[in-house]
């Protein structure tokens, strides 16, 4: 048995016979349009959409030769409609097939063109199903004039009217840390936290700053603080953040020993569930040879194992 021949369980049985068969009139059928449909297609080739008025005054788009309400011939009055229209209902085609007007997901929609009394079926190239809704305003996208043939596909598709536009805004800054933050970062490079004591309030602020937020006095005295402190409170963040090593991550308020304001820091080396208010922690530094003028020198704060502080 040839190896490329898939085994069939009942190969010898006539019931398993399959053959492809194509039925296609050579050159394609023609459709004689008659005057009404012919006028519609002629106008379409010119880039216009017309409907025809019935005796009752309704504008049929696309036109019909005979009024579906009465069976009477339509009037000879052609009315230009659209080109914009409103989607009345729609069905989304997530996987277009061969022969569909678009090769990407689109909607088949019933579109009531402005001035028309009926809806026209056509494709809407909306990009995403989320863009589709009843009431959506759309406009035809005609094929280039040379390609138009007097066919409904002279309209390649409809596209939504412009209702939003992209507003790319980008501002580029050149940021310098300023004198106090630069001084603090020098400390961080050297493995210490620098704070400042307000002589007036006798409060120690960290990071180091040159004015007191309470009284406005100039802070002159620099204070070197230990890298240990106490967690006063914290959040367990379940939303990812590029600066956090994993989810969940714990951002905590830590008051360094000797400081009077908390710093917001990342906690590590401890499961989120085990973090407690009052927990004692110490900064985990990157090795000295890797340190720069950056807060990145501190990986996170980790529990020291000391008993919790009563808050």
């Amino acid at each position: 048995m040839p190896s490329d021949h898939p085994p069939a369980p009942e190969e010898s049985s006539a019931e398993s016979l399959v053959a492809e068969h194509v039925l296609e009139f050579p050159g394609g059928y023609t459709r004689t349009t008659g005057p009404v449909i012919g006028r519609f297609l002629t106008e379409l080739r010119e880039g216009r959409i017309v409907g025809v008025r019935t005796a009752a005054g309704r504008v049929l788009v696309p036109p019909l030769e005979y009024d579906p309400e009465t069976g009477d011939p339509v009037t000879g009055e052609y009315v230009q409609v659209g080109p914009a229209g409103t989607v009345r209902s729609w069905a989304w085609v997530g996987t277009p097939r061969k022969g569909h007007p678009l090769d990407r997901p689109f909607a088949w929609a019933l579109i009531e063109l402005d001035g028309a009394g009926t809806a026209l079926v056509h494709a809407v190239d909306a990009g995403t199903v989320k863009a589709m809704r009843p009431g959506l305003r759309v406009r035809p996208r005609f094929r280039p004039e040379a390609e138009r043939a007097g066919h409904i596909t002279d309209i390649a598709c409809f596209v939504p009217e412009v209702s939003t536009m992209a507003a790319p805004i980008r501002t580029e800054y050149r940021v310098r840390p300023g004198r106090s933050l630069a001084r603090f970062l020098e400390g961080v490079r050297d493995g210490v936290f620098l704070g400042g004591r307000c002589a007036h309030c006798d409060k120690v602020y960290v990071p180091y700053r040159t004015t007191c937020p309470e009284c406005g006095s100039t802070i002159g005295e620099e204070v070197e603080l230990p890298d240990t402190g106490t967690v006063t409170t914290f959040a367990i963040n379940n939303l990812p953040d590029p600066r956090a090593p994993q989810v969940p991550f714990v951002s905590a308020y830590v008051v360094l020993d000797g400081a009077d304001v908390p710093m917001i820091v990342l906690l590590g080396d401890v499961p989120a569930r085990d973090v407690r208010q009052g927990m004692r922690v110490r900064a985990v530094w990157v090795p000295p040879e890797e340190r720069t003028l950056s807060m990145g020198n501190i990986r996170w704060f980790a529990p020291t194992g000391e008993p919790d502080v009563r808050l």
Binding site: A167, A235, N237, R243, L266, L293, G296
Partner: protein, 382 residues
């Protein structure tokens, strides 16, 4: 002594996730026209316009008040922008009122808005400057630790936040302008949603809304219709990092409340105020602000919530409109609180009207709970 001032018109848009049918200008105009219609006035009757909104980074429109002057009939009139972070809506009303109370103008239009769908507020609130490592993700990331500290100090049981989340959404079902209208909302539904920033669950947070709110404020000799008289107004702020700052029960909030109660002659807010619209963007802020605003003693706020005192049927309904938890066009959220307080004392709150409300508190806070704006409005001329 300030001149008397009253709210004579209120206008709101329906708050929703996306208003794709209008520009920012169209949105604010919709609210402004409704306020004018309520006051039976037109733009030509307005002397000055005060616009409030939260950071420009939310929509990426720099100084939007300049572009909005046309939409608000502002040509040739003073147009002022106010910005005090999340409390801005409240501050906008107070700045507008001060122009009337100071005798500068007779009728002032105050408008506040946010079109959150144009970007993402959490992104805008989490831009990280070089050299620092703040690790705070959005407003929830900032407020969660302070809620945790409130729970520790007060010993409040864990379900209190859930009760507020349910109560405000039940109220929202009675407010046609509310964004979140969740049929069948209950504790189980809230508790089934994930912790975003523990201890804050998804349904214990406010939505992101598009919307605008407007009010017409008038001097006494221009008051028409059913006014809401301003009995007091106050703003306070405090630095976000200062030694000894109480982030759970901020001094700025206490001072602001004391000031506004003094102006209104209120000594016991729970008894003397009929309804309060208080800025509660995360459900736990109801018990926290109950204490900060003097409706309950320290550590006791959660007991009022648990007892149902703040429900629409309670003795001191908080956020009968559904509050910030149900509608949050950030820049407008404070003004909505002030406007809803006015609607209550005008008897115009519709299905969420508190029967017989004669005196109401409007409250807003912003930044790291460091900006406060409050007013007391009443049906009686002060």
């Amino acid at each position: 002594m300030a001149n008397r001032c009253a709210v004579i018109g209120v206008g709101q848009t329906k708050y929703q996730t996306k208003r794709r049918d209008v520009s920012i200008a169209g949105l604010v105009r919709e609210a402004a026209l409704r306020a004018l219609e309520d006051a039976e006035l037109t733009f030509t009757d307005i002397d000055a316009i005060v616009i409030g909104k939260a950071p420009d980074l939310f929509e990426g429109v720099m100084m939007p008040e300049v572009y909005l002057a046309d939409a608000l009939g502002g040509a040739g009139k003073p147009v002022t922008r106010v910005h005090t972070a999340g409390s801005v809506g409240g501050s906008t009303a107070l700045v507008g009122a001060s122009l009337v109370q100071g005798g500068v103008h007779d009728r002032v239009l105050v408008v506040a808005f946010e079109k959150q769908s144009e970007s993402n507020a959490t992104w805008a609130l989490s831009t990280h400057l070089p050299f620092t490592a703040s690790l705070v993700v959005g407003a929830g990331g900032y407020f969660a630790p302070h809620i945790r500290e409130y729970m520790r100090r007060s010993g409040a049981p864990g379900h209190i936040g859930t009760l507020v989340a349910v109560k405000d959404r039940l109220n929202a079902l009675k407010n046609p302008y509310a964004h979140l209208r969740i049929p069948g909302i209950d504790r189980a539904m809230v508790e089934s949603t994930p912790m975003l920033w523990e201890p804050i669950r998804y349904l214990e947070t406010c939505p992101s809304s598009d919307g605008a709110c407007a009010m017409v404020l008038a001097a006494e000799h221009k008051v028409t219709g059913t006014p809401a008289w301003i009995h007091g107004g106050a703003m306070r702020s405090e630095p976000i990092f200062r030694a000894g700052r109480d982030t759970v029960n901020p001094q700025g909030g206490k001072d602001c409340a004391a000031d506004v109660y003094r102006q209104a002659g209120i000594s016991d807010p729970r008894r003397e105020i009929d309804v309060a619209e208080v800025y509660v963007p995360f459900s736990w802020y109801e018990p926290m602000w109950l204490e900060n605003l003097g409706f309950a003693g320290e550590g006791e706020g959660w007991k009022l919530t648990e007892a149902g005192a703040t429900a629409l049927s309670g003795d001191i309904p908080w956020n009968a409109s559904g509050g910030v938890l149900s509608s949050n066009p950030i820049g407008a959220s404070g003004l909505i609180r002030f406007a809803e307080a006015a609607l209550q004392v005008r008897g115009r709150a519709g299905e969420h009207q508190v029967e017989g409300a004669r005196r109401a508190l409007g409250h807003a806070y912003g930044g790291g709970a460091q900006f406060f704006a409050m007013w007391i409005v009443g049906s009686d001329r002060p």
